[in-house]
Amino acid sequence: MSDRSKTVIGRWFTDQRPSTPATTPPAWPNFSTEAGFIANPQLTPSFTLTNHVWNDTTQSSIGDSLLEKDQNHFVIKHCLNSSLTSLSASPDHNHVVVAGREVLKVLSVSEREITEEISLKNRHNKYSSNDVKWGNVCKFNGIKNNCTGCFSATKNKIATAATNGSIIIWDIGNGRAKIDRRINEHSRAVNRICFNPANGLILLSASQDYTMKLWDLREPEPAKFTFEGKCESVRDVQFNSINTNDFAAAFENGTIQKWDIRKPIIHERKLNAHIGSVLAVDWHSDGRTIASGGRDKSIKIWDMNSDSRRPRDAIQSMTSISRVQWRPNHPNEIASCALLSDNRIFVWNIKRPFIASYCFEEHDDVPTGFLWHDSEVLWSCSKDKFFIQQDMKDSYRPLNMLSKCSIGWSAYDKIAFAIEKPNDSEDQSRSISSPSNQFRIMQRRISPIIIETRNELQQKTGIASLPTFDYKSFSYLAENYIISSLDIVSACEHNAKIAWDVQRFRTAQTWKIIQLLYGNLEPMNKSGSTHDVTDENLLKESFLTNPSVETKSLKDLNKDLNTVTEKPNETLVEDEDSLFESDGEEEENRVKESDNEDVQKSPRNSIKMTSRTVQTTYNSTLYRNWDKEPMIAQLLDYYAEQMCVTLVLVLGDRIKINQERLEQWFFSYIELLHRFQLWCGATHIISSSKISSVEMMNQQSTTIYTTCNNCFRPMLNYRSGYWICEKCRKMLNPCSICHNTVKGLYTWCQGCSHGGHLIHMQEWFLVNNECPTGCGHKCSTKFFYT
């Protein structure tokens, strides 16, 4: 085990050496000691090898499965027996220190494994740590003379901030942990600490006691400076990585402040950033932009060099933001985690503020801290006791779970749609920036912000109208069809005409056939006194008196039908329509002549019209009482609910249909009528139907809620018994003329809701047309008549 650890660490050295800034050569010799204590784990009594959790491979086959892991998973989890509150990486990013309620441990993290190295927790420290930070090298010299040569600074030191206000500096320099210093200057809990990125000897703290303090760790206490934010508790502080004298602080009352440590009296800039407390700030690597996250569930991006008091960008999340951190080398991307109830770590692109670009979902509880190991690898710790190393490849893209298109149908067969342009826009919309950078580069200090234009949406919305549904003819038919079954002949005739009017020739012909089929069963006198009677009688007579001719011609017809029906449906329709139109006008005249030929011709047309339904039955010879049921059944199958329902109503009990099916037709048709707001037609259908469940629709308790005509409050409260309005304490709906309560018929204007006794209203509106209460409403023209 120890051998393997050594080789791993060794490989890291060779990997990392070239990318480390050249200004820090003195930092390197110390690594040998670190590697040394890894190689000799017996020397550190707290060293443990337990609780390695591998995602999908066993430890024994690490070497073999490495390639596979490269392609699939990079998640390495490590359990630490206690919920964690924060983490910090060593300056060389080989190690991480994790802090929790009962744990403070240094872990060695490589691409393939995580090992525990030092446990720092001991009996001296009974308070849990709010924050932990690994110290830093001192990078620049010459500015402060006494700093020269002090390169390693606090590189082997770790600072923890405790809930009781003390800050402890640990020294882990020789593979052994000891407390280097204990600072007890804050009176209340310390929320966050921060080493200066340029000088690891400078430590800054943010405390619940409303102050920030800065120490130079070479000097004895007390603190070098105390910064008074005058803004309640300080939740977070962070140094600017470019201009290292600047730091930003986040406050409980929603403000963020920018300070210069050389001017400890007053802040340089103050912004009212969030509603509720600000929980996190993070400087962008460009040195001028700050991201802040707060309890108001938003992340806001501020340009500290501009005078604007509004954020440059804002991201609205679903949970309070507890931590934010910019992603290295991706100037527009920022990661965040939630304070409560969300176990995910999101990576946002600030140019696409509504949909997170990436999402890590490895933790089983709320993440409490995370940091970018490099631009592709994220380290995080959580309340679920796990420290996790994960790669961007382990994340998923919420955008891929979202549909880019949508459709909606209206009752009028119109389609509302939102669809995105295909293919060429793929790169812009699906992936704002692809994780193309496969080479892991340590965080570069300066990466200028590339101001991208806002991601342009490729989605288009529109409404397509289909010609598949003709609303006008539907409503015309619905309004004009006769649905009484008393006089079939005239009803059919009328309905055929109606259908004819809206150019539904096929439907018209069907009505004619129905008329023929059922009309002639009726006694003559039942056909009433409409003008059609003569025609009908003639038709019937010819039908009855010339059966031989009919059958003959119909047999011929069958041949025709067979040829016709072989054609595709579309052409058939055209044929029929044109045929009908040409013959249509002549029809009446010819029928009147009662010529045999013409009589044949007219039914011939109609048979052709409904060829599909008719052809089977016409093979049999025509008898007066032939079996019409199969034909009607086919006919009903063919037509939609409007025709079916009307037909059923017209024919009444002459046809027998499955009750359930019948009800479905009625309900469907009534629903359609409702959709088109043809209320009268619907009610008519309901009341003429003989089906109890349909009739029920008009018999259900109909409630009309009334409102007070003074304050318009709905009258829902029965306690006062409808006499007095609960709210305005006025008598309800008195007569506007005599001011008495109206008993019995109350007549009121729907426009202004004033009214009274019918007789008073009639009198008043005989001479006036305005409302008697003087409300100014002109009621009379519309609503009142005498």
Partner: protein, 305 residues
């Protein structure tokens, strides 16, 4: 066949559009966390915005209208794990941002709510929802006039437990959709699509029945297929038969039937809406493409038939 453009002015992707019962109003929901309601203006024949408001704290995934007998009520569901019920306040001016009032917020879900649908009105004001946590929840407003109070009638765990011991469910693993059976002659039924990682189903739609002797259910799948199943009611359950397996050419995200259940539309990543109509011999030929609405590069929509 005509196409009318309208600019939704949403700041991010639109995830759902829905007409109301009468086809006179339109609601759109988007990742920009807003809902927008549109109404056809009779004067100009254009869609005019009635109101636009921030409805959720995350992408709004789906929006549905309740039957108008319950008033002008909208339900929306979102990544933020909530379902919200909105009712129109007619006394508020249009485009005030206040016209739709949040009547209720249903927050039982522990994952993003992926689908929501009102039951057919004859079952009452009932709402079915399914979330990434794999739980189907059915809510009902028992007092129809009080939209603030929704009772959780049923909670069914439909999660296919791959690793049953994990208490927490990963958002990315749950993928569900549902659709109510529109027939009043069956007991209330819902079709739910559980996630299958092989060919993920993105959407499901139960066709309006309109007195047919069988049911039709359509699914939209990640593997580019639109499938239509026919359900025949036996005495002991349904006989299910795949009658059409249609190719949309790209990943399909949405399927929807028209009001009479005669035309199916599907939309996918290729930026096209395809329309499928039953051929006359439904048994042998199934459904056929009758038209395509597409958003081509010249940004003009064309219709092919």
């Amino acid at each position: 066949m005509s196409v009318q453009h309208f600019d939704s002015l949403h700041d991010d992707l639109i995830h759902d559009v829905a007409y109301d019962f009468y086809g006179k109003r339109l609601v759109t929901c988007s990742s920009d966390q807003k809902l927008k309601v549109w109404e056809m203006s009779p004067d100009t024949n254009n869609w005019e915005q009635i109101d636009s408001w921030k409805a959720h704290e995350c992408s709004v995934l789906k929006v549905v209208w309740a039957h108008p007998e319950f008033g002008q009520v909208i339900a929306s569901c979102s990544f933020d794990r909530s379902i919200r019920i909105w009712e129109e306040q007619e006394h508020e001016p249009k485009n005030s941002g206040k016209r739709w009032f949040e009547k209720a917020r249903l927050v039982d879900s522990r994952g993003s709510v992926q689908d929501v649908e009102f039951a057919p009105n004859f079952w009452g004001l009932r709402l079915a929802s399914i979330a990434a946590d794999g739980v189907l929840r059915i809510y009902e407003a028992l007092e129809v006039s009080n939209l603030a109070h929704w009772t959780l009638m049923d909670e069914v765990n439909v999660h296919l437990s791959r690793n049953s011991n994990t208490t927490t469910l990963k958002e990315a693993e749950g993928n569900y959709c549902l659709s109510w059976c529109p027939s009043r002659y069956q007991s209330p039924m819902i079709v739910i699509v559980l996630d299958g990682h092989q060919d993920l189903i993105h959407d499901v739609a139960w066709a309006p029945n309109m007195g047919r002797s069988y049911h039709l259910i359509a699914t939209a799948s990640k593997d580019h297929r639109v499938r239509i199943y026919k359900l025949l009611d036996n005495k002991d359950g349904f006989a299910i038969e795949l009658i059409s397996d249609l190719n949309h050419n790209t990943e399909v995200w949405k399927v929807k039937w028209n009001v009479t259940g005669t035309i199916l539309s599907s939309a996918g990543d290729d930026g096209k809406v395809r329309l499928w109509k039953a051929s006359n011999k439904i048994e042998s030929e199934g459904f056929k493409c009758m038209g395509i609405v597409c958003n081509d590069r010249q940004s003009s929509d064309t219709m092919e038939t």
